[in-house]
């Protein structure tokens, strides 16, 4: 079960990033005809990022302790000390931005250039933060792997 949660966390993160790109494209082409799609995309970002936060948060608070102990004893302790410590707090930035998006997109963005600019800025930072966090997750995962390889446990490689 913990593996399902572990893999669902970055999966919803990627869905959130993709939804933010979708939102960016819709807002760049904002008109009366795509108002519903703009709202759908903004809600998709919010739902996916909230799910990524809940799943990742549950896994982090319940299961991560054992992996942390392995990482800090391995050759890449910075995978926890720097990457995870930064990632776990950085995650709250796209979470807040994602919660904000449905509020902005409730406006008629086709008629409001200022709200379009704000929406595109927020969506762009969800994408940038999301990509950084996904990359961080990969490094943390590799931090566990190199720790196992370092110990010479058979099959770890």
């Amino acid at each position: 079960m913990s593996d399902i949660i572990l893999f669902a966390h970055p999966t919803f993160g990627v869905f959130g990033i993709l939804a933010a790109v979708w939102l960016l494209v819709e807002v760049l082409n904002a008109s009366e005809t795509n108002r519903a799609r703009i709202r759908s995309a903004s809600y998709a970002v919010a739902i996916c990022i909230v799910l990524a936060a809940l799943l990742g948060g549950y896994w982090y608070t319940v299961y991560y302790g054992a992996e942390k102990a392995i990482i800090v004893k391995g050759p890449w302790p910075w995978a926890h000390n720097f990457v995870m410590e930064t990632k776990e707090h950085l995650f709250f930035i796209p979470l807040i931005l994602a919660l904000y998006l449905p509020i902005v997109s409730a406006q008629n963005l086709a008629r409001n250039k200022a709200s379009r600019l704000v929406t595109m800025t927020v969506a762009a930072f969800v994408v940038l933060n999301g990509l950084a966090i996904e990359g961080g997750g990969a490094i943390i995962n590799y931090g566990v792997k190199v720790a196992f390889v370092h110990t010479g446990i058979k099959g770890a490689e």
């Binding site: 936060a53 948060g57 982090y60 608070t61 000390n81 720097f82 410590e85 930064t86 776990e88 707090h89 950085l90 709250f92 930035i93 979470l95 807040i96 931005l97 919660l99 904000y100 509020i103 902005v104 409730a106 406006q107 008629r111 409001n112 250039k113 200022a114 709200s115 379009r116 600019l117 704000v118 800025t121 927020v122 930072f125 940038l128 933060n129 950084a132």
Partner: protein, 109 residues
């Protein structure tokens, strides 16, 4: 002010909820980094936050969401007005400063 100027002015401003919750988001993002610094530097706060929900990270996240919502509704009730460019700069600036601040802190500490 002509109708054209009024329309132009209207287009440059975001609506009340966008301004209020946008400003709240920018402040919350900075608050998030500040709280991460303080709890990392001051163990009793970390322990206290952990005692509230079972883990300091859960309390941190809940605190962020509460700050965002409370500030948003406070700014909304005060009728905060902002133009779109300024709000976008606040949001982008807060993300860059807060993200860079987190990374720098955990590199140095």
């Amino acid at each position: 002010m002509s109708n054209l100027e009024a329309n132009a002015a209207g287009r440059s401003q975001v609506d009340g909820a966008t301004a209020a919750f946008g400003l709240a988001a920018a402040i919350t993002i900075l608050f998030n980094t500040l709280l991460a610094w303080v709890k990392d530097a001051y163990d009793p706060l970390n322990t206290f936050m952990a005692s509230l929900t079972g883990h300091h990270w859960r309390t941190h996240g809940i605190a962020d969401v509460i700050v965002f919502l409370v500030l948003g509704f406070v700014f909304l009730s005060q009728g905060v007005k902002l133009d779109g460019v300024r709000l976008a700069v606040y949001l982008a600036g807060s993300c860059i400063i807060a993200g860079g601040g987190l990374a720098l802190w955990f590199v140095l500490v």
